[in-house]
């Protein structure tokens, strides 16, 4: 299921990457920014899908780690930390540490408890961000006046123009996706799939299922944190909304829309999500109800998601032809 479409998609990925590199030359600035947001949410959703699609764990609290990444970055930038590299590194590390502590509590029981506890602890992080005004600015969030430039030997690359933010985001998203790609193809990735397939059999061939799940949770949390840093740079602010369950719902919806069984499914789901948002927000501000109303039939009738169903349909046609 998950392995399908991997090796063949390498070329497709490279072509797509080339297109994305040319993106800002073709697209108007408004759409350049939307595509930037799609990158960020695509990475966020793909990190969520490491848990959901690959190991069968449904987390409703990933926004917590996304927000931790965003807030850590915002705090470091505000205190005048000069190095963006170091800011990203520290933020991802902090998000991963939070994932380690919270994950340790969440993986102790079955999938239902996991869903319930991730939601609960995710909202705990939201509550902290919302109420600890001295540190986080409370419900107003933390606006940033400036973001330090990207510094490479001999170059200083300001993150003021949206096109620069686009490439900056593309680079880090690609790095995050590359990490995910390596992980799912590694022996550990095989363990994850085995957890989803049959955790009992896996335990009885000597695997510590909780530890495997915890490791996946930490990786997913760290990458969600990375997406959070990018979002913070993109928006020039961090707000408690980033940690609310309505925000955790985003990667869930994107993954379901795109399909959890396909590696890039969640990213396609993110693209579908934003195109829908452009359409829908023209008519109504209550955008969650629209998403909920879309999600319900997708869950009932197309459990493999839109892209997932399409991939399977194409596969079936190919098989029946040969």
């Amino acid at each position: 299921m998950s392995a399908r479409g991997f090796s063949g998609s390498v070329i497709a990925t490279l072509v797509l990457l080339a297109l994305l590199l040319l993106g800002p030359c073709i697209l108007p600035i408004y759409w350049t920014m939307i595509v930037t947001e799609i990158f960020i949410m695509g990475l966020f959703s793909m990190s969520f899908n490491l848990l959901f699609g690959f190991s069968g764990l449904l987390s409703f609290g990933q926004a917590g780690f996304f927000g931790i990444g965003a807030y850590t970055a915002a705090l470091l930038i505000q205190t005048g930390f000069p190095s963006l590299w170091l800011i990203i590194f520290c933020s991802v590390l902090v998000a991963a540490l939070f994932a380690l502590a919270i994950g340790y509590l969440c993986v102790r029981r079955d999938e239902i408890f996991f869903a319930m506890l991730t939601l609960g602890f995710g909202m705990m992080l939201f509550t902290i961000a919302h109420n600890w005004r001295e540190l986080t600015g409370g419900s107003d969030g933390m606006p940033l006046c400036s973001v330090p430039p990207v510094r490479l030997p001999g170059i200083e690359w300001s993150l003021f123009p949206p096109v620069h933010v686009y490439y900056f985001t593309l680079f880090w998203t690609a790095a995050g996706v590359f990490i995910l790609w390596r992980v799912v193809r590694s022996p550990f990735g095989l363990m994850l799939t085995a957890v989803r397939e049959n955790k009992q059999r896996l335990a009885f061939v000597g695997a510590d299922v909780s530890r495997i799940r915890l490791a996946a949770f930490v990786i997913a949390g760290g990458l969600a944190g990375l997406a959070g840093v990018l979002f913070c740079v993109f928006n020039r602010m961090a707000t408690p909304d980033f940690m609310h369950w309505a925000f955790s719902a985003r990667p869930v919806l994107m993954t379901i829309l795109g399909g959890s069984g396909v590696f890039f499914g969640p990213a396609w789901g993110a693209a579908i999500f934003f195109c829908l948002e452009q359409l829908v927000t023209a008519f109504t501000e209550n955008w969650m109800i629209v998403l909920g109303l879309i999600l319900i039939p997708v869950v009932i009738f197309f459990p493999q998601g839109i892209v997932g169903t399409l991939v399977q349909w194409l596969g079936d046609r190919k098989e029946s032809r040969s």
Partner: protein, 286 residues
């Protein structure tokens, strides 16, 4: 000493509301095997629904009677129309579906009633407050402290002595067995889901005069009832009672002793129970 008594009463009144809500959640889980993420939204709908009826007929009691019943009907319709289609599937899809319901219902409330908070008056019979040493204490809270255990007792008697109560308990223990002895399981599931929804909605209707009615009231409740069922043990009736009482007391005493850090107390309780007794205080060993 007085402060202590006041906090005790506050903790008990909120704890009793939580108990009603958590019992609904835990019963639905026990029988249907579905954890309902939209349970808090039904609580909120109960508050709004009964408030609407109170305004229409100018009667608190009519609102309390009719509002939750209507929400229970809505719950049963949702069970028959949507949830029923995913019972055979992986548990993730059931969680996703109720989560989608949560998003829809929460936003629907915002669309219908707007983002503002509403105040619901306690009925004349329970309005006002009485002198309690030097404090004055609202009569309505005292009513909640009494109504909670009373409703709990009714529920207990229902499960213990009535035909349907016994069937539900049997089905909660073994779903196949219920089918084996000729109980129409789809009907049973719908009724139990209706009962769970009703309990949440009654909680909401009772909470309306106790706190203000607003679009994020379901949020706090669903998380707190999750904490209650994890602490008490998912599927356990006495667990829900004890868990709800502990949480209610921790919160009311927390405001006094922990100041602003009291927000973190429920989560600390949750973490401690998960570390020491992952199955909850009353959870059965597998």
């Amino acid at each position: 000493m007085e402060a202590f008594a006041v906090n005790l009463l506050n903790g008990c009144s909120w704890g009793m509301l939580l108990f009603l809500i958590a019992v609904g959640l835990t019963t639905v889980f026990g029988v249907l095997g579905v954890l309902n993420f939209a349970h808090g939204s039904f609580f909120m709908l109960g508050a709004y629904g009964s408030m609407q009826i109170m305004h229409l007929f100018n009667s608190f009691w009519l609102g309390l009677l009719v509002g939750p019943a209507l929400i229970a009907l809505l719950g049963m319709a949702l069970e028959m129309g949507l949830l029923r289609r995913v019972y055979g599937r992986d548990v993730s899809y059931q969680l996703l579906l109720t989560f989608a319901l949560l998003l829809v219902l929460d936003d629907a409330v915002r669309i219908i009633w707007g983002p503002a908070y509403h105040v619901v008056e306690a009925p004349p019979l329970l309005a006002g407050s009485f002198a309690f040493f030097t404090h004055s204490y609202p009569v309505y809270r005292l009513f909640l402290v009494a109504a909670g255990p009373l409703l709990g007792l009714c529920l207990w008697a229902f499960f213990r002595f009535t035909h349907w109560g016994k069937i539900i308990r049997a089905a909660a223990m073994d779903r196949d067995m219920a089918e084996g002895v000729g109980i129409r399981v789809p009907l049973l599931f719908t009724l139990v889901f209706g009962l769970g929804t009703w309990l949440a909605a009654v909680g909401g209707a009772l909470a309306a005069p106790h706190q203000s009615v607003g679009p994020s009231m379901g949020e706090r409740v669903i998380i707190e009832s999750f904490i209650v069922v994890v602490v008490g043990g998912l599927g356990s009736f006495p667990g829900a009672f004890v868990g709800a009482l502990i949480l209610g007391l921790i919160e009311s005493f927390g405001t006094v002793f922990a100041g602003r850090a009291q927000m973190a107390l429920p989560y600390i309780l949750l973490a401690v129970v998960l570390l020491l007794r992952p199955r909850g205080l009353f959870g059965r060993e597998a």
